[in-house]
Amino acid sequence: MRRWAFQVAFLFAVVVVLLYLYENVTDNLRRLGITTDFRYLRQPAGFAIPDSDFRSSQTLFDAVLVGVQNTAKVSLLGILLASILGVVVGVARLSTNWLVRRAAAAYVETFRNIPVLIIILFWYLGVVLRLPPIGEAFEVLDLVVVSNRGLVVPWFDRVGAAGLFLVFVVLGVVAATVVGVWRRRRLERKGEPARVLLWSGGALLLALAVGYFAAGRPWVFETPERGELATSGGLRLSPEYAALLIGLTLYTASHIAEIVRGAILAVPRGQTEAANALGLSGFQRLRNVVLPQALRIAIPPVANQYLNLVKNSSLGVAISYYEVTKITRVSIAQAAPAVQAILLLMAAYLVFSLAIAAITNFANRRLALKGR
């Protein structure tokens, strides 16, 4: 009975506080003549977004969607790069080579102990913006053009209809899956090495190549051309994108490296010794025995780092990379109602967080060793 009374009183108090705050907000907004609903999202944005097709006459809602896309763009590539770098550095920290070990430790200790905002600002203001202007841009192997206007990399340029090609992409994925299953079955029945990557990847590439020519070469691979004032062709990564990506990658990789190191140390020594006894080489031991077990241990904490990376991508606001936080900041400056805009921003990040948590939980369940 007392438990019930307490809970009811507690909920009552929480609701009263929330209602009080809500009342205050609506009161204040009304008195200032600001809308209290989300209809402002249908109004034209009134600002343009660099490096996108977004026009200032489009609605604020569209602007937020572009922001979400940009957040996803920098987060996904950042997660990929940080994972690769993190695993490499984590392994390097346990190298038998003294110099490699110390270099990896120096990297980790440096980037773990500096605010990620400073790292991003440093790359943006101190490195990317100081690259030579386009007229004097340096080119790497005639493929990549590096200048203070960003990085231009070779990319596909669309010249024809792509519908047929997309069909072949789907066919290729299906074929790769079927081949993969077939190879794995064969491994189980006959003990033949599966080589899934080789076979499935081969099937996919074959389908893509056939589709490419069957559809009449819908894409052309284009290398950027450097002009006096601009580059033509290729894909341009803006300086803001490049700096944010590099900063997030370096910072997150230093954290992932520590997790990977801990996970490798958590693999029982007997496993390493057994691998040595079987005569595996150092690389084989790492690739086939230690890492598969270590990475399973590392999944939950690394998933946490992925979440942090997505949240840290909000620091794009400091260097004017137009991800969702920057869009919110700009729209508030353009007289969008702050309360609603910030609530929407938080909702966007909650969706990101839930999505990543769902994916990594799924991966964790699939990869966890059963029966322990």
Binding site: Q7, L11, N24, N28, N97, V100, N113, F122, M346, S353
Partner: protein, 419 residues
Amino acid sequence: MATRVDTLEPLPSPEPERPSARRLSPSEWARENLFGSKLDAVLTVAFALLLAWALYRVGRFVFADARWEVIDRNITNLMVARFPRDELWRIWAALFVLAASLGFGAGAAATSRRRDLEEGRAAPPGRTEVLRRAGPVVALVAVLLWFAGSLEATILTLGVAAVAAGAYLGGRRVRWRAARFAPIVLGGIVIAFLIVAAFGGVGWDNWGGLLLTLFLAVAGILISFPLGVLLALGRRSSLPAVRVVCVAYIELVRGVPLIALLFMGAFMIGFFLPPGVDRPSLVTRALIALVLFTAAYVAEIVRGGLQSVPRAQIEAAQALGLSPLRVTGLIVLPQALRNVIPGLVGQFISLYKDTSLVFIVGLTDLLGVAENITKQPDFLAQGLIVETLLFASVIYWTGSYWMSRESQRLERRLGLGER
């Protein structure tokens, strides 16, 4: 273990003697650690070249190319920003009080450690330990003083160090348990704060630079700690209503970036107040955002500690007839909080780094000053941001590296993760 009846079982043989680690000669060491195989040799050479190049570039920048004048002339700005210059004595006085209380606390901690030593629970300190532990901080202070280039500041700093050392020796004379000196350190922090802010002092709205960074970090963790403990207890409560509310708060806050909360502080808090009430200053609002943010993370850390307390402890307390409040306050929390000290230090370190985000909402913390001074007329558009960011990151780096080192030591000393 099975009961032993067989008296013929051989006596346990003495511990086999470990082969004593022979000191390797330099060439043997190099062969073992640098040139073990062909691949190793290639890696060694590649990394040696890479590191040499990096060191050369950084060294050349720091000692030759960098124009440090911007730091030289702004060192006071970087430390305290807009803090009125004729009130600076308050900060020095506060530093003396802090040195005394922290020194005393460290001394008392050393006493309890000496007892551990006598009873064989701790390893004796190495000869270079003090130097290694204090090294980074001493180096940082030296760099700051070099930039300040003022005799007065140097003398005052030496005075602060002397007071700390004296208090340390004094602290070693008391024979207290660890719990006793926590209030002394806390009291020292509070008195230091009052010296600066109260009695006709300068309110925190006018603080800036490193002072503001440290204030936000320390006040943030101190205020969010009780909140976090309450949230953690709420999350573990047997009452569903309390649990749901606490879980909702914790997960909501952990799902959004800090900058979103800081925006909330900057743009939204004013709307939450009843009409006619002035909204608090930007520093206060940023602090509120930091506290709301950190409380959720502290709650998760404390929850880990609560889960580490064996159930038997609670059952035993209940069997003794303690009320639920007393079970929590006297039995569970003291054991749980002891286990989460390293986690809390980690959270403090990340808060210390995260305070740099207040620069985005327009406060002049250390990073804010570092950015602003490159826009002074004398230094405008000369690309000095690299120098100032490097200077700021050295301060952040030293603090955070030093604290994480100390936290690892503490973890080892408390013997966490060994039970």
